[in-house]
């Protein structure tokens, strides 16, 4: 594994209404890993991602992306929020949602043109959603909506991808399609960070893992640290998951 650090988090503490949900997190994410963030409900997994992306303001600590603050590195980062965080009845089409991924590189006021549209169509193609480009987004199934979100992140052409539960509420074929795209991203040297719920699939899908429960429990290669000991520390009950090599 290369030593270059994609994301560095120092002493990060985040609170809602003065109640800390993340305590003193130190975390280094090496470049080129496909990493799962696992932990029980309320462990602060989404909060961690939102704090890295500047959506939430931490009360202490700092985050850097390739050695610089997030504000300076927006174009390096793509974000897939939880599917349930948006209103899918919004009057817009699949293509238009994917186009939104290009807005960041355009900056304020400038409008997307042919170049952006072409990029969006290519991203739709990659996730197998090209035939649905003009469909209103509420007319898509849960899996299709998740693919649209993934396409929107792909169009950002970033180095680091943050995804908040991309497998939630999707059917098996979409799950496979998504994980194949994530693996292709890693192969292309990108760093992919995924909030993940299904512990059974961690060894199969990911090569890096972070255990989180308000505090960081452990982080490292799946084969070294994905064990009953860390699972028990994170989830509080006696966990037995056999890790297959």
């Amino acid at each position: 594994m290369e030593n270059k650090i994609a994301v560095q988090i120092d002493d990060l503490t985040v609170a809602y209404n003065y109640k800390p949900v993340l305590w003193d997190i130190d975390l280094e994410i090496p470049e080129g890993v496909l990493m799962a963030i696992v932990g029980p409900n309320g462990a602060g997994k989404s909060t961690l991602i939102k704090s890295i992306l500047g959506i939430l303001k931490p009360i202490a600590g700092s985050v850097s992306i390739y050695g610089k603050p997030y504000d300076k590195q927006r174009d390096q980062v793509a974000y897939v929020p939880q599917k349930g965080s948006v209103d899918w009845d919004f009057p817009t089409t699949a293509l238009d949602v994917v186009m939104m991924g290009t807005y960041g590189s355009l900056g304020w006021i400038k409008r997307p043109g042919q170049k952006e549209k072409k990029a969006a169509l290519e991203a739709l193609e990659k996730v197998g959603m090209l035939p649905f480009k003009n469909r209103q987004i509420s007319q898509l199934s849960g899996g299709q909506q998740q693919r649209i979100f993934l396409a929107r992140a792909l169009v950002q052409n970033a180095s680091i991808y943050f995804m908040d539960e991309p497998f939630q509420g999707v059917d098996a074929s979409t799950e496979i399609a998504i994980i194949n795209i994530l693996k292709a991203l890693r192969k292309a040297g990108k760093t992919v960070i995924v909030v993940h719920h299904d512990l059974q699939t961690v060894p199969e899908y990911f090569d890096w893992v972070t255990f989180l429960n308000v505090k960081k429990i452990a982080t490292g290669p799946v084969r070294d640290i994905f064990n009953d000991d860390n699972l028990t520390k994170t989830y509080g009950i006696n966990y037995k998951v056999s890790v297959q090599e």
Binding site: S85, D87, P91
Partner: protein
């Protein structure tokens, strides 16, 4: 039509469009009630502004009053953020207080102004043509027309300039923040435009109609289109239609213009709510009925597929076996025949090739939930349109 009549309708139309634009985004952001709050709580702003400027049409007064609108939004958010009450409660707490301060201020100090509570609630559109704008001795039209015209131009420029930012922050605030388009800036920008528009429209149409003009056209447009730009255009169109139709309704009934326009808005929304092709009540009921029949059809076809022996496929047997009323059996049989899915010989029903393929495909879909397989079926059958 007299000049005054044309001017009144023109003012009403400009107000309608100026309200429909921010209104569309308020509806999409599920913030319709905030327009109600703003429209009431700008009253103390107008009164205080009048004390300072002594001119109801001064731009300074408009800005001061709009500031009260922003303060309302900030207060509502502050109270909500404490977590002690929910947003709708916070709105209900803030605006009556500010509104009543305005009412008391008028009663105590401004008896000689043409501001009274009736005018505040319903406006004085009929009197708008009397207050003229005079530039170097020339009469260039009613002051209200100029005020709302300026506000509308300003709103349209902002809309065109920041359309992309408005769209992304309304649809997905998280993405918007991560891309560097601060949702807070866009939110307060929208609130400022809503407040300024409300103040500008307030004098002409009053607090209640402002709310109606912001919400009803956008709500109706929402039921008719799946495209944001079109939604804005439809909302503007509905606003203009109601403004003109409402004016003539008032004319023929000799009633309040503001009241008539609001009535037209209500009727317009009702019509769209009932008859909108996709999302209207009638379309929804029709679709549900079709889906029920299609489910029956599928059950029926599946029965045929699973039972090859003739006794199981006799029309009489089907009636007993699937346990349907005669009418329903007939509807289903007719639908299947119409689509060439079955053939009937000597009262024995058999699946055609097409029917057989359709049944396999449909069952496959129900088992796997693979949408790609049924794209071709969506046009013919409601059931598969999700």
């Amino acid at each position: 039509m007299s000049n005054a009549q044309i001017e009144i309708q023109l003012i009403a139309c400009l107000v309608a469009v100026a309200c429909a634009i921010p209104g569309t985004f308020l509806v999409l952001r599920k913030m319709a009630m905030i327009s109600d709050a703003i429209s009431h709580s700008i009253l103390p702003g107008i009164v205080v502004g009048f004390f300072i400027t002594q001119d109801l049409n001064s731009p300074l007064l408009i800005l001061l009053a709009a500031l009260t609108g922003i303060i309302t939004v900030v207060l509502v958010e502050y109270i909500q953020k404490t977590g002690l009450v929910k947003e709708d409660t916070a709105i209900g707490l803030v605006f009556p207080v500010l509104f009543s301060i305005g009412v008391i201020l008028i009663a105590k100090n401004a008896n000689d102004v043409h501001l009274d509570v009736d005018a505040v609630l319903l406006g004085e559109l009929a009197f708008a043509p009397f207050d003229r704008m005079i530039i170097t001795g020339t009469d260039v039209g009613p002051k209200s027309l100029w005020i709302i015209g300026c506000i509308l131009s300003f709103t349209i420029i902002l809309l065109i300039t920041f359309f992309k930012e408005l769209k992304v922050s309304t649809f997905d605030a998280g993405l918007s923040a991560s891309l560097g388009f601060s949702p807070a800036i866009i939110h307060y920008g929208l609130m400022t435009v809503s407040s300024v528009t409300t103040v500008g429209a307030f004098d002409a149409v009053g607090a209640i109609l402002v709310v109606a003009l912001m919400i009803a056209p956008a709500a109706a447009a929402y039921l008719l289109t799946t495209d944001l730009k079109r939604m804005i255009l439809y909302a503007c169109g509905f606003g203009i239609f109601s403004a003109i139709a409402g004016y003539w309704l008032a004319h023929s009934l000799d009633a309040s213009i503001a009241g008539s326009i609001t009535t037209m808005l209500g009727l317009l929304f009702l019509a769209v709510y009932l008859f909108a092709p996709g999302k209207g009540i009638i379309a929804v009921l029709y679709r549900e009925k079709q889906q029920r029949i299609e489910v029956s059809l599928l059950t029926f076809l599946l029965h045929l597929k699973n039972h090859t022996e003739e006794s199981e496929r006799h029309v009489n047997h089907l009636n007993e076996h699937i346990n349907w009323q005669k009418v329903r059996s007939k509807t289903v049989l007719n639908l299947a025949l119409k689509n060439n899915m079955i053939s009937i010989e000597n009262r024995v029903v058999s699946l055609t090739k097409k029917g057989d393929a359709f049944t396999s495909q449909a069952i496959d879909y129900i088992m796997t939930n693979e949408h790609a397989q049924i794209e071709g079926m969506k046009d013919d059958f409601f059931l598969f349109r999700g």
